[in-house]
Symmetry: D3
Subunit: 243 residues, 6 copies
């Protein structure tokens, strides 16, 4: 769909760490296969998702943001992705027109085949919802032939929603169990990069990876699959295969 | 997942013609690629879906069934599939234990990777619902290690629901738009085999194929795709691809 | 749609009293306008819905059934409907093939434009669910051209679900608020005919009628509407009016 | 409900062409019956839905908007409707308070019995969602007795959602199949007025009209019905008829 | 969960009267048991819900607001709750950042175990939806460790949605039927305080209380329960009891 | 609600092991608090859920059933529950009238306040669905005043659905996270009793217990909660508490 010869994946993450816990396997897998994976962090998660940092004496908002930037950049590097930070604030996240324009520009430049982002309706975390809405909105703008005639309109990338913390309460129904067995060690290393902020989550998401792996086998994956990540598609798949 | 070297597809069709209108493209496509496709017709649709035949003077139930058997067999041959008829009656269809056992035996013998059948809740046609329920029930039995120790348990085939006549009213949400462009002429020929009974449907399902083809392109298929069939999955897909 | 010159309504009621509380207004309204309204009671509700009768000393199943028959017949007469009782048992209701055949025969003879019955999924009362399923199944059979060539196939009557006792828990979403203001006194009289068994319900369903009436006005009915009954359609409406 | 003697229909269209493809039949039908039909186009669809125009050399945003204005005006005239353009931009559409006030004023002046607009949740096109939200919001404001005491509060018009391009993916479940057979030639003529921009859609929506017409007959419409448009209601219908 | 020794309930009401009709019983019950109940009225409902006042000659917006403030304050006092008015306007309500900050501050100061507010999707009244969204958004901000380091982060209070006027159309499915029998006389008195504006609703909500009470008994409450209010939870309950 | 002085819980388990993995914590917790907990196993899971046993040479159906009986009895004893086996067959389970009557008799004798069973719609396992349907059907019969006048009608026990293997695919949305921390060691011991058949599941369900425990804390449970089980209610809760 793109004249670009390198396949491309774009991740829209509400907070600096979301892409690691929820989509680290997909990112590493895509990167290993030669896709150019790029992460856009809408915020650092500086207020709402940096509880560990705030426990340190004398912590300031700027230092939290700086630490989160460093951690997330390190994690992205481990996963094999490039990353940028829009610094839009969190709890609540606010996405203005300039930020929308920036994301549209990234989409047009990179021409991703797949977008990864949050679910539409997380009652615990409205920043996630806004990241979802922003993804669909900017995808639409990037497709418009009359928008910025100097760049190439986007095709029709799938939007895959990654797994929220409490999937059933968020209406998340996985329809893709992605085998991340070959890259799980990479995901663990990336999760450890974030662990200053939210260390207890490494074990939690390791267990989740195993759990989704067991389910993948129950749904027909070979028994060699031991770890998986769950995703929910937004659009129908298209193709020539009956699966 | 099967030791069988030939890939296999199994279609559970409530009435003799359903598999043609709703899944003819998928069947032809799979057959052309070397899958062994088999159709189990639970009934001939002799009472409820043979309006054209009943308009002929002196028609009897046996003659309707015989005609439908011939038409459906011809259609299956065109599509490249084998076919069998369980003759369980229609309007209403009734599935007894012997019929369940037969379907389980077919599943175990053929070891299909994919099952095709009707939706779960069609308010217009309860035979469709029973075909759906029968598919899920026999799939479960065929998987049981303690069932008939002389045959091999089934793996975990996907169950794809094909498109009902009024999709939205039946809660049908397509998540696979299958490109049937290369075999559409074959599907038309198969549909014509059934046309004595329901001839006006050939045009109807040709238009539907185009409509689903346009939607496939809107969802990212190449513009060379002109015809598609819509399916809804029952289980998550598993795999290594982010799509 | 029917050659029959009198319009016709058919009510499939799981228990002897359901049609009174839940659809008495619709029945009276249709009858007053010249429709031939017929009620098929699948059971008398003798075990599960006759608590008042069972409190009387020396009560027997036969006497309960006889009393319920008399009460329901009286209520039907007040409402202007004919009635028949299939006596299939309740708690649980069981519908055999003979009963299905009888209902199909009634549908073919009466050619109703509208069917009234219960919701599909009442977690409190599985008899209601079976009445719903039976209605959709027999409607399908009655439509089949190959079924009983001596009678006329049924058209495509709407199936209106009437309001269950706890609507939200049963997934009931009203999309028709029927103005029963002109016949509400008739409904009250019919409810009083059933009151030996379930007397406290007269006030309850009077209040409900007022509540649904207020909602009708909120949805655009004239302020002269004071009482309504709620219904949920199974199929799309068709017609020439944009409403 | 209104003191206005002429019945009135109001269409809120996100882009200049939506009202033609999706509701042209309803508009023509209402106009022929004497309703005053008015279309409010929130944008011209200049960026996102004018792909054909942008292919012309030297095209500018102003020329696209002007062409779309002319085409949509011509189409409205064919259909028998008046039209106005709020020029709020597209991809993304932005609706400010002034625009909301204008729509409220139109509602109060015209006192429509029916509002036509987009679905609530189209994942492909967030402009459609905003048109939906704007319709419900302005309807609410127009009903408020304390808003602008110099004009008459709105009654409780039904909000009919018209069919999106990919209905199932948008959660669209039609509950009204409107017979547009008598005006289908008018709709075709109106569609042709828009065809400079999106010509291939004329055939597409003609086929869709036939498809919905077939479904209308399946749901009980007379066989003379050959074309229909699908709508989904937002509120319960109210009335005296059991249908 | 809070170090605060007094349990606390917070009600976010879109308009001045909503908390009375929809949650008056819960408020009175909580207050009688020693909870500190506080009501935040986002608007007075001055434009959209004061039809009675606007019928009085020479009425002005300020006088409507003043009257509503007095009535709502009186009702809150009857119920045993404190109250504040943010005066954000109604029809439509608009919630700015300052208002969000104020609500966050209230949450942090009061540390409520339970939040009461409107449903997420009321097609009749978008102010209700915004009150819902605002509640979830401010709850999230109030939980953030990095927000306003001088106050204490909020725990994880349940969000209970109270019953909208037309519950089924708003997707409201009650999962808590709260016994308000002991305080129903208090609720009536509070409703009467509001009755200048919307007097006919006292009888309406009394009948509704009885209706929900009957349903409570059907779901296992003792027969001494005669009045109830319906609520829908947003989050799972947690605890040691199997109920 | 019962004159029985001992509170009572009844578990309807499709196969011999389901109650251990899915509800072992709830059972142990209830038993420790003095409830009389009884488990009805509809089948031994002899065909479909005894893969480990079938791998042993010379295994027969009778030996599988006997082993499963012993394991499940041992597990029940560990949990503190009584148990009975109806031996109705599995894959597929078939529930006849005699079995329904037996369950009704158990319900009337034991007068449980809570019923535990499977979800309504598990696409992987139709035996689970039948167990669910059987529970609702027998609950209804047990409530009927006219059923078996020599025993006492059942009240209105809540029906709690326990967690299926792939919750989202089964439409399972937990609304009760039950703290099973104090009894988790007991659950582990009971799971080990079943481990001959399905040993790998002990770790799997231990991890799941931790996962649900983390979620419980996120939903407001004290941090001392480390293990939980998830349940979904069928009916609204009733009571005097705002939670």
């Amino acid at each position: 769909m793109s004249e670009n010869t390198t396949p491309s994946v774009l991740v829209i993450s509400a907070h600096a760490a979301d892409f690691v816990w929820r989509a680290g396997g997909a990112i590493a897998l895509s990167a290993q296969r030669g896709s150019a994976v790029h992460v856009v962090c809408l915020s650092f998660g500086e207020r709402g998702e940096s509880q560990g940092l705030w426990k340190q004496e004398g912590m300031t908002l700027d230092r939290v943001k700086q630490t989160r930037r460093e951690q997330a950049s390190a994690a992205a590097e481990v996963l094999g992705a490039s990353i940028e930070f829009l610094d839009l604030g969190d709890y609540p996240l606010r996405v203005d027109e300039a930020a929308q324009d920036r994301i549209v520009a990234v989409m047009r430049e990179r021409q991703p085949e797949v977008l990864l982002t949050h679910v539409a309706n997380d009652p615990y975390n409205r920043d996630h919802n806004l990241a979802h809405e922003t993804t669909l909105l900017t995808r639409m703008v990037a497709q418009a032939h009359g928008h910025d005639r100097s760049t190439t309109p986007l095709g029709a990338p799938q939007v895959l929603k990654f797994e929220p913390h409490q999937p059933e309460v968020c209406g998340f129904t996985p329809d893709l169990l992605l085998d991340i067995t070959p890259v799980f060690d990479v995901k663990v290393k990336a999760m450890q990069s974030m662990s200053g902020a939210q260390g207890h989550l490494v074990q939690y998401y390791t267990d989740l990876g195993i759990r989704r792996g067991v389910q993948a086998v129950r749904n027909g994956a070979p028994k060699t699959v031991t770890h998986a990540e769950a995703y929910q598609r937004t659009f129908p798949t298209v193709g020539e295969e009956l699966r």
